[in-house]
């Protein structure tokens, strides 16, 4: 496969990440179960991670590590900066999930339900 064809295929990743983000937002907007809202937040996060990693893609590049025994002459790398950003983003996503799940546990104890339609003591 030539370089330009590989370069063109990255659009699949972009569209996939847009699709994931849209699914996540849809879940947050349309679903009433707060557990599903948490899942939606997670899906948005995964979509963003996919987007960031895809941005750093370089057709034909290898992982940016100078393991000299395994490299052929003329090897070049993919972009390491988005990978570092993704690492950060993954941890942040895990923290969001942890915080949201602990809130969900407490809400279930307090309200006895997971229905967002009933968790509305503060309104108006």
């Amino acid at each position: 496969m030539s370089t330009s064809e590989v370069n063109g295929l990255i659009i699949v990743n972009y569209i996939g990440s847009v699709f994931l983000i849209a699914i996540g937002f849809y879940t947050m907007m349309a679903k009433k179960n707060i557990m599903k809202i948490v899942i939606g937040m997670g899906i948005v996060d995964y979509g963003i991670n996919l987007l960031i990693v895809s941005v750093g893609f370089n057709p034909g590049g290898t992982a940016p590590i100078f393991t000299i025994n395994e490299l052929d002459p003329g090897t070049f790398f993919v972009d390491p900066v988005p990978q570092a950003l993704t690492l950060t983003s993954i941890v942040i996503g895990a923290c969001v999930t942890a915080l949201a799940l602990s809130l969900v546990i407490k809400i279930k104890q307090e309200y006895g339900t997971l229905d967002a339609g009933q968790i509305r003591r503060l309104r108006g």
Binding site: M28, I37, V55, C95, R121, L122, R123, G124
Partner: protein, 638 residues
């Protein structure tokens, strides 16, 4: 040595948070650590005032000495220009006073070491956000402050609605953070850098569809953090449920962090404020926030929730003024930002004092506390006068600047819409005064309920920060020329002239080399009409007459319509009352002082009440619709 002070001001707060974890149950040591951290941070910020505000330097600090190589900023930098320092001063004042207040205020809660850990994390996050010069680093700091604010909102997890408010805040906050991160990614893929100054140069006249998408996402993300209109219910919930010292931070500091982000995005990063439609949409958002906030506040029954809606309204003023894109407008906006921090902080601390003394913030249950808590009542009145814009206090100066700026904009552009904004701002100010009359009547005056006969005055450690805030309120109102000279004007100059910032970060001449032209500056000249100029007063008087005329006209129509459908089956208090003994129905609750007004406008109030349904999916829908609307709008205008 001075160049290390910004990073130390941030890291001292974080180190304080870790040491608080290690202190464990030792109360005295913990309080000392927390106080020392906050004080040290404020001192570091205070030392920066002289070189930056007065001498006009811009400090750029490359973390790890990774200064730009081959015209690319490979590391992260902290930049302190006048605008950053303005917000850093605001943050450090609010954090220090709220922290001192919380030593005594929180003493009846348990596991305070976690409270102070999160509190210091929150302060450090905001400080890191306003001093950062890197887009991704701004995102990280936004996440820190969001998580800490969410956890602190749910800190009193047994109190009414705290968990619910925290969950809503988390969901909406995650939407905002996701938007910021997607925008950052798109900008990185186009320009291969994350530095704000470099992006600002590379973005100039380089708008492609993906870039506009990134702009929309970043603007939406920071608008979420500023809690302007489609995202405002979350702030009201969070402020009502959080401890008062945290409400101060959420209402005074986090919204300002969002405003800072918006200023950086629209004035600095994309330099797009010369587009009239963008000015229009920002002013529209601000005006809507102003109006919806204050009308929702009139209908509230809870002290802190009412204050939270006022906070939305005042942030609307700031947003309107920022959106005008004139030097006078930005001056008014920044002045109002710092004034809002002072008086809303004072009001929230008063609410905290009332809660500490009585255990409730329900307006219907409170009353007559002025006899038992005279100092708190006096402080509350100072805050209420300031927020309503009565002349000797600070709210007047900034509101006056904002009226003048909108009016001037209307004259300059010949656009009648901006004159309407002036009128709405005036009406909102009047309604603010009205709702604070209601609060003072139902909390501090009126009848003292029996269960509060034994209430004592707030302890001294809580009163000291309140008096300091009140003194700052009065001072900012009485000495506007000093505030202008040392605080506001340098910041406005920094907003309008981005060349200094870029030159300091990327080296002088960078912008000319890359963009092939000098960085153009907005005009920062403006004629200040002064605050006693008779001609301006006359114009203001004319505007007030107009506003009164319009309101009375529309009011007449409304009352006619209401008479036609006679209220049958409604509350008996709306019945006509002639004479004789008043029965129990004719008593109006403390929170219902303006029931007649609310009754006349009941369609509007009912609609707003139903719209703020409390269901998180609806709020997420509002946020996402706002994002979609902004995408469509910005693609159309650019």
């Amino acid at each position: 040595m001075i160049q290390h002070f910004p990073i130390l001001a941030i890291m001292v707060l974080f180190l304080g948070a870790f040491l608080t974890v290690l202190c464990g149950k030792n109360k005295v040591l913990r309080n000392i650590v927390v106080f020392a951290a906050m004080l040290a941070s404020s001192v570091f910020i205070a030392f920066l005032i002289k070189p930056i505000m007065i001498d006009g330097e811009v400090i750029t600090y490359w973390l790890g000495n990774w200064s730009p190589v081959a015209d690319y900023a490979i590391g992260i930098c902290l930049v302190v220009d006048q605008l950053n320092l303005f917000f850093a001063i605001l943050v450090s004042v609010a954090v220090l006073l709220a922290g001192v207040f919380s030593f005594k205020y929180m003493s009846r809660d348990d596991t305070l070491e976690k409270y102070f850990t999160l509190f210091l994390m929150l302060s450090g996050g905001v400080m890191g956000l306003v001093l950062s010069g890197d887009l991704f680093n701004m995102f990280i700091m936004v996440e820190i402050l969001t998580f800490a604010a969410v956890a602190l909102t749910a800190f009193r997890n047994r109190s009414e609605g705290a968990l619910e408010a925290a969950f809503k805040y988390l969901v909406i906050g995650v939407i905002g953070s996701s938007c910021i991160l997607i925008g950052t990614t798109i900008l990185y893929s186009q320009f291969h850098t994350l530095n704000l100054a470099q992006l600002s140069v590379l973005l100039h006249n380089n708008l492609q569809p993906a870039t506009i998408l990134a702009f929309t996402l970043l603007l939406t993300g920071f608008a979420v953090k500023a809690f302007v209109v489609p995202f405002h219910p979350v702030e009201a919930d969070a402020n009502a449920a959080a401890p008062s010292s945290v409400s101060v931070i959420i209402s005074c500091v986090l919204t300002k962090a969002g405003i800072y982000g918006i200023i950086r995005i629209v004035y600095f990063l994309f330099r797009s404020m010369n587009l009239a439609p963008l000015q229009f949409i920002l002013v529209l958002i601000g005006t809507l926030s102003m109006f919806i906030g204050v009308t929702m506040a009139l209908a509230q029954k809870d002290f802190k929730r009412l204050l939270a809606f006022h906070s939305i309204s005042q942030v609307g003023y700031v947003m309107t003024a920022i959106g005008l894109a004139t030097a006078l407008g930005v001056t008014g906006g920044l002045y109002h930002a710092i004034n809002h921090t002072l008086f809303k902080g004072l009001l929230f601390l008063c609410a905290g004092a009332v809660f500490y003394a009585t255990g409730t913030t329900n307006l219907d249950k409170l009353g007559g506390l002025a006899k038992r808590m005279p100092q708190t009542a006096a402080l509350f009145l100072i805050g209420a006068f300031s927020i309503s814009g009565l002349p000797p206090f600070n709210g007047f100066v900034s509101k006056w600047l904002i009226y003048q700026a909108t009016y001037e904009k209307a004259v300059e552009f010949g656009n009648i819409g901006y004159a309407f904004v002036t009128i709405i701002a005036l009406v909102v100010s009047v309604m603010t005064l009205a709702s604070f009359i209601k609060v003072s009547q139902s909390v501090f005056f009126g009848q003292l309920p029996d269960e509060f006969k034994e209430v004592r005055e707030t302890p001294v450690p809580m009163r000291i920060p309140m008096w300091i805030m009140a003194a700052l309120c009065v001072g900012a109102g009485l000495l506007p020329q000093y505030m202008m000279r040392y605080l506001i004007n340098p910041a406005v100059y920094a907003v309008m002239n981005v060349g200094n910032y870029i030159g300091s970060v990327m080296g002088p001449g960078y912008a000319e080399k890359i963009a092939g032209q000098t960085v153009e500056a907005y005009s920062s000249e403006f004629a200040l009409a002064g605050y006693w100029s008779p001609i301006s007063w006359l114009a203001l008087f004319a505007i007030i007459i107009c506003a009164f005329f319009i309101v009375s006209l529309s009011g007449g129509k409304l009352s006619k319509k209401i008479h036609s459908d006679s209220p049958s089956g409604l509350d008996p208090k709306y019945d006509t009352f002639f004479s004789g003994e008043a029965n129990e129905h004719s008593q109006v609750g403390g929170s219902d002082l303006f029931w007649g007004f609310k009754h006349n406008l009941r369609h509007y109030f009912d609609f707003m009440h139903n719209a703020h349904s409390g269901v998180i999916s609806d709020y997420a829908l509002w946020a996402f619709c706002f994002l979609s609307f902004m995408i469509v709008y910005l693609f159309i205008i650019v």
